[in-house]
């Protein structure tokens, strides 16, 4: 288990509750995490994962499992099967979650809709994690010109509000492309990945900066270890907890953003690829007659985001991640 980060915030407050200054508040969720209602350090170590964290993990495993198994589950096809006579009807025998505005089965829509939502959420953050993490590690280790340049680059990318940036990238990159759904998911994923790079890069840089001052890094250098080896073997293991806690929150933000992009007309194509976000958008027109469409898709997003937020907090508490100040 890594030692607590040698953060200046500790000297500043000298208190367990003080989680440091939220310089990296790129998004509201990330700002929120800055202050976790925390137990004492001792209690954290004794109770690493509470029941809430296990429930969260359970829900996520469940959602990922049904998303992966969707093709072999005994479900009606979410696109080709429809019964217009039953459209907008609520839960009933044979359609336990009801039907949507086109007479499609809600259960299969939600199961299939998990695929693009999770793919975009996990995929975009995975790309952001690798790219942002690598750049952040380099920026934190090579402090001079390279570090300043990359830090400045992150600042510039963060200077454009995330939703606007993602919207602009999706809109520009899929303007005339024949609406082929594959590229659409790809566009949304890449746009959100680009947005997540500076957020993850900045937290990695901040964390790597403070760890690279430590004696063991100096010792490794004195033994003649290469820069690459120091970054990979000495810095990365210590920086990972901070990266993971932000990345988990980032997945939640990306899943919500998928829905936001759908509302803005830049989401995944609803006709061929149902996603939680575009199910909500499609159902909101009939919200007053058939609220179950929006409610069910909203619950799916809500529970997933809640689980990810909770897990992110748990990782922070477990590994005692603190925001470093830059």
């Amino acid at each position: 288990m890594p030692e607590p980060l040698p953060s200046a915030a500790q000297d500043l407050a000298g208190d367990e509750e003080y989680e440091g200054l939220p310089v990296d508040a790129g998004t509201q969720q990330i700002a929120a995490v800055v202050s976790v209602p925390a137990a004492t350090a001792a209690a954290r170590r004794k109770k690493p994962f509470g029941i809430g964290a296990w429930l969260s993990l359970g829900w996520l495993v469940f959602v990922i499992a049904i998303a992966l198994l969707a093709p072999i589950l005994p479900l009606k096809d979410p696109i080709t099967w429809s019964d217009p006579a039953l459209k907008l009807q609520g839960p009933q025998w044979g359609h336990i979650l009801g039907l949507d505005q086109g007479g499609h089965d809600m259960l299969s829509l939600l199961v299939w809709g998990a695929r693009p939502s999770l793919l975009i959420g996990f995929g975009s953050i995975a790309i952001g994690f690798v790219v942002g993490g690598t750049l952040g590690l380099i920026a934190g280790y090579f402090k001079g010109v390279i570090g300043e340049f990359l830090g400045g680059l992150f600042d510039i990318m963060l200077a454009i509000p995330a939703v606007i940036l993602a919207l602009a990238i999706v809109a520009a990159s899929s303007a005339s492309v024949t609406t082929n759904t594959g590229s659409h998911i790809g566009n949304v994923t890449i746009a959100l990945a680009i947005v997540s790079v500076p957020i993850l890069g900045r937290i990695t840089r901040a964390s790597a900066l403070s760890w690279s001052e430590r004696e063991f890094v100096l010792a490794a250098r004195a033994q003649g270890a290469s820069h690459f080896r120091i970054m990979l073997r000495e810095l990365l293991p210590n920086v990972l907890p901070a990266m993971f806690s932000i990345a988990v929150l980032g997945i939640a933000v990306a899943i919500v953003a998928e829905g936001a992009l759908a509302i803005l007309g830049a989401g995944v194509n609803a006709a061929s690829t149902p996603s939680w976000g575009n199910i909500i958008v499609g159902g909101q027109g009939s919200l007053s007659q058939a609220a179950h469409i929006v409610i069910e898709a909203s619950i799916a997003i809500f529970l997933t985001v809640l689980s990810l937020n909770h897990l992110g907090d748990a990782i922070r508490a477990r590994f005692d991640v603190q925001e470093a100040r830059i």
Binding site: L21, P22, Q28, S35, G152, A159, A175, I263, Q284, S298
Partner: protein, 320 residues
């Protein structure tokens, strides 16, 4: 003073960089941007003229220079094509939309802080009680509730079913002050998640402050708890909150785009949405650039205010 000059230099660099990005966006669009504006042009003359007007024949950086000088002299280009706004300068809509969005965000901030500050202070004072636990659980729930979900439900129940408030502004040019009835639901949708963010933040800072010696002194003097909490403890605990509230303007701008589209409010987000929908790339460039610059300027102001307000930061930076 030196740090201020450095910050100012960084500000200029960031602003130039975001304008460059906003401009370069149009280069991501596949094909000729003029094709989106002019559909029918057998002779090719119209397209050729537009190419010239938009400097599209020039090298990339010359184009950028033209665009940048126009941008900073307030010439934002115009709407093209067949849209109802065709021919109008972008600036005409922009100067109406920008104040609208700023007022919307301001309202949301005020509402969020007005609810979060008392809640944060009281939950800190009652830390560990059932009230504290329940409030935190609800706040955690609101963090996971996307603003658009809340907006849809408010729209359908409060506006459609109960008929208490108008559903949408229909994109009409309403005033954020006199037409306040249109603003209530958007502001609530936007503020809800912020309440949770601010409350949790303030709570942990107030808990830290309440352990300080001067609080014990105040209690020993017999000052009432209410006065201690809101006079003595709140001020030293509010700096982090103020910073996050400032930085959060970015999240709010993003949230405002979605909420403006849902309620069809005539703000920057809705105008950007319309411009993207009707392929007005000249307008899209301008809106993205202006939103980014406003965001950068707000962050800059917060940063400066913060170091003025908190001597610890000022001195730490001076030492470093």
């Amino acid at each position: 003073m030196r740090t201020f000059a450095t910050k100012l230099l960084r500000l200029v660099i960031v602003i130039v960089a975001v304008t460059f990005f906003s401009f370069a966006l149009i280069k991501l669009v596949p094909g000729d941007p003029v094709d989106y504006i002019i559909n029918y042009d057998p002779s090719g003359q119209l397209k050729a003229r537009l190419h010239q007007d938009l400097h599209l024949n020039d090298p990339f950086f010359v184009q950028y220079w033209h665009w940048l000088t126009n941008f900073f002299t307030g010439n934002f280009g115009r709407y093209y094509g067949l849209s109802p706004t065709a021919g109008q300068p972008v600036s005409q809509q922009l100067w109406k939309a920008l104040p609208f969005s700023l007022v919307l965000i301001l309202y949301a901030q005020i509402l969020a802080l007005a609810i979060a500050i008392p809640l944060g202070v009281v939950t800190a004072y009652r830390a560990g009680t059932k009230f504290d636990g329940a409030t935190n659980a609800v706040a955690f729930g609101f963090l996971a509730l996307p603003s658009y979900v809340l907006a849809f439900f408010l729209a359908i129940w409060v506006a459609v079913k109960w008929g208490l408030l108008p559903v949408s502004a229909g994109g009409n040019q309403i005033s954020p002050i006199t037409d306040w009835r249109y603003m209530i639901l958007p502001v609530i949708s936007l503020a809800a998640a912020q309440v949770a963010v601010y409350m949790r933040l303030l709570r942990s800072d107030v808990i830290a402050t309440l352990r300080e010696d001067f609080i014990t002194t105040a209690q020993a003097k017999g000052i009432t708890n209410r006065r201690i909490l809101f006079r003595h403890a709140l001020r030293p605990s509010s700096l982090t909150l103020l910073t996050v509230a400032g930085l959060n303007v970015g999240a709010l701008i993003g949230g405002a785009v979605v909420v403006e589209v849902i309620f069809q409010l005539p703000g920057m987000g809705f105008r950007l949405f319309q411009a993207i929908g009707s392929k007005q790339y000249v307008a899209v460039q301008t809106y993205v650039a202006v939103i980014a610059i406003v965001y950068v300027l707000i962050n800059f102001t917060v940063d400066i205010l913060y170091s003025v307000l908190d001597p610890r930061i000022r001195h730490a930076r001076a030492a470093a």
